[in-house]
């Protein structure tokens, strides 16, 4: 009951004119940013964050703006996946697999509308999950001390290891590079400078904004240059503008399942929209691909990843709001946004500033409706923007990214660092290092190390503090399960497949 009263209060915040305008603006910008190849939610949020601050928006309004952008990106990514066969953001990679073939078959309108609908259901399911689970988790979180946080970090990395299965060595190395980059700078415990090479610019560490923009914006435009020749052809939007009842019914089960799956993957710290959409797509393909239609324009292959990536985006707010641990790279940037306002996300937030939490949740529900409206009838407006020529788009991305870095760190050093990291990121991406594990390592690195050392300071070196409490014990067990269960399942599945083949022969 209390939840309803608080949600009501949240709507009072979200329905304020300024917040409504900001939600609308954020949804629009998010859709555009998500749609443009190369710019994903991290870029959108990272670029808008200093701007929101410079505009002197109050904290709840700034958060609503960023959250609307985040959700809008998950909507927008599908447009270029479907029409251009170039994923607008990482969460929409899977959408291209069946979306673009559908468009080429003259069903662009159906693909766009069903994916928008799936996105809407995914977000709605996940926001309801957020309303249900976040207060529960928040009640718990005072029990989280350094030892518990350390175990939680270990669990987060275990999730990553269990899910990115095909390149284990590069995944681990990428995570280690990220973890090591987080070490640079002043040690939060002893105050000693580590690996700064006497540069004061590195004294606070490698700046988060430079890393994010370097790895995700600069490296991306380098990749774009490489792909100018191969670039996909824009498919004109054709066919029926909206899906029919049969199509709706045939995807309903897929959408619901993928939404719930996406939500829980989003809640796991570190596993974001990319993992969620990939897993939802794979599961759906395994369940329904009887006639080999997947990859050739199966409507369920469009609905599943879109429901999942939106659900995981909303789900990643759960650990962010309750524990202060970002559930994704984008929410990591938002944690930064909150700290700009001297707000520490975590258990205190629910009791001390409920208007921020519940205002955000209510605004997510409203923005979701706005996005549905924007993305079905008005999708033509957005798709026209895709014909913006690269010789304008790329310098624009470069300039806006640089403004983002400069607005938060007014030094040339960070600009140069951004370019250098961009080149490094480009090379890593060419060699198929998973960037998600690198950025996760970077975001969680400091928390991992410091919480370990804090826990050991409390116990004066006694290791038992790390797994003695019920919470730490449970987290360790879950972490072990995360690492061991997926490979076992894979092996069993392979055996079954072999057995089935043998039976057929």
């Amino acid at each position: 009951m209390e939840t309803f009263a608080q949600l009501g209060a949240g709507f009072a915040v979200a329905l304020r004119v300024d917040n409504l305008i900001v939600a609308l603006l954020g949804s629009f910008i998010g859709t555009v940013v998500g749609m443009l190849p190369g710019l994903g939610p991290i870029n959108g949020v990272a670029i808008l964050l200093p701007l929101a601050f410079a505009l002197k928006l109050p904290p709840e309004t700034a958060l609503i703006l960023l959250a609307a952008v985040y959700m809008g990106c998950e909507y927008g990514g599908r447009i270029s996946s479907i029409l251009l066969n170039v994923p607008g953001d990482a969460g929409a990679i899977m959408t291209a697999l069946d979306g673009n073939p559908m468009a080429k078959n003259g069903q662009a309108g159906v693909a766009l509308s069903i994916s928008a609908w799936a996105s809407f259901v995914g977000s709605t399911v996940a926001i309801l999950g957020l309303i249900l689970f976040a207060p529960l988790l928040a009640n718990w979180s005072l029990a989280f001390g350094p030892a518990e946080y350390f175990a939680l970090m270990v669990f987060a990395f275990a999730c990553l290891a269990g899910m990115v299965g095909d390149k284990p060595l590069k995944t681990v190395l990428a995570a280690l590079i990220g973890l090591f980059m987080a070490v640079v700078g002043v040690d939060a415990n002893s105050g000693v400078y580590r690996f700064t090479f006497d540069s004061i610019h590195l004294s606070d560490g490698i700046q988060f904004i430079s890393v994010v923009i370097g790895f995700f914006s600069v490296s991306e435009i380098l990749l774009m240059l490489e792909n100018t020749h191969r670039g996909g052809k824009l498919v004109k939007q054709t066919g029926r503008l909206i899906f029919n009842l049969k199509e709706f019914m045939s995807t309903l089960g897929t959408v619901m399942r993928s939404s719930i799956m996406g939500f829980f993957i989003g809640v796991l710290p570190g596993a974001g929209a990319t993992v969620a959409s990939a897993m939802a797509y794979m599961t759906t393909k395994r369940m329904h691909d009887k006639e080999g239609t997947f990859g050739k324009g199966d409507i369920r292959g469009v609905a599943a990843p879109e429901a999942a990536n939106n659900a995981s985006a909303c789900g990643s707010f759960v650990p962010m709001l309750t524990l202060g641990i970002p559930g994704s790279g984008t929410t990591a940037v938002m944690v930064g946004a909150l700290s700009l306002y001297n707000i520490t996300p975590g258990p205190m937030l629910f009791t001390q500033q409920p208007e921020i939490v519940w205002g955000l949740i209510a605004a997510l529900l409203l923005a979701n409706i706005m996005l549905l409206v924007m993305n079905i009838p008005l999708v033509g407006v957005f798709s026209r923007m895709l014909s913006l020529p690269n010789f304008l788009l790329v310098p624009g991305i470069a300039a806006v990214s640089t403004v983002g870095v400069y607005a938060v760190h007014a030094t040339s050093f960070d600009l140069v660092l951004m370019v250098v990291l961009g080149v490094f990121g480009y090379m890593l991406r060419k060699m198929h290092f998973p960037m998600s594990s690198l950025i996760l390592g970077f975001v969680l690195g400091e928390m991992l190390e410091q919480n370990l050392r804090r826990a050991l300071s409390i116990s004066n070196g006694e290791l038992s503090i790390l797994f003695n409490s019920p919470i730490t014990g449970g987290l360790w067990l879950m972490a072990i399960a995360m690492v061991t269960v997926p490979p076992l399942l894979r092996r069993r599945r392979r055996k079954q497949a072999l057995a089935a083949q043998a039976a057929q022969v």
């Binding site: 973890l179 090591f180 002893s190 240059l225 010789f391 624009g396 470069a398 050392r453």
Partner: protein, 143 residues
């Protein structure tokens, strides 16, 4: 091949960093772990991963053809020069120059690039600095 080269380079980097890291010491140590153990552990693990990668490289990376590679190097240079000129020249001028350079790399026509670049430089300066009040270096023209 590139996996092997990367692994070898990273191996050397890790060793060098380990030498640097050995010197980390807090003047006042009473905390059980201290500031040195954790980064050394990470470096050790990275070293092991690099070794494993050198011995068992993964799939081949498909590096772009030479003409594309040249343009990528040019683009990196353009971005570096942009970063360095950002403060001295000011946002508007530096952005205009960068836009022309990158626009040309993306095969825009000279006229389009110059007009577009000027538009981007001055338009974004007006938008961010004047309209949104995000301070940008004014440089030669507005300063």
């Amino acid at each position: 091949m590139s996996d092997r080269i990367f692994a070898a380079v990273w191996l050397v980097v890790c060793l060098l960093l380990m030498v640097v890291g050995w010197g980390i010491q807090s003047e006042f140590s009473y905390e059980p772990v201290g500031p040195r153990a954790y980064p050394m552990l990470l470096l050790g693990l990275m070293l092991a991963c690099s070794l494993a990668m050198a011995l068992r490289p993964g799939e081949k990376a498909d590096w772009p053809e030479k003409p594309v590679l040249i343009r990528i190097v040019l683009m990196i240079l353009a971005l570096l020069v942009y970063a360095l000129l950002f403060e001295p020249l000011g946002f508007a001028l530096a952005t205009a120059l960068m836009s022309v350079a990158i626009g040309r790399l993306f095969e825009g026509k000279w006229l389009h690039c110059v007009v577009g670049g000027a538009g981007l430089g001055f338009g974004l300066f007006y938008f961010f600095d004047r309209l949104l009040d995000v301070p940008l270096p004014a440089g030669l023209i507005f300063g």
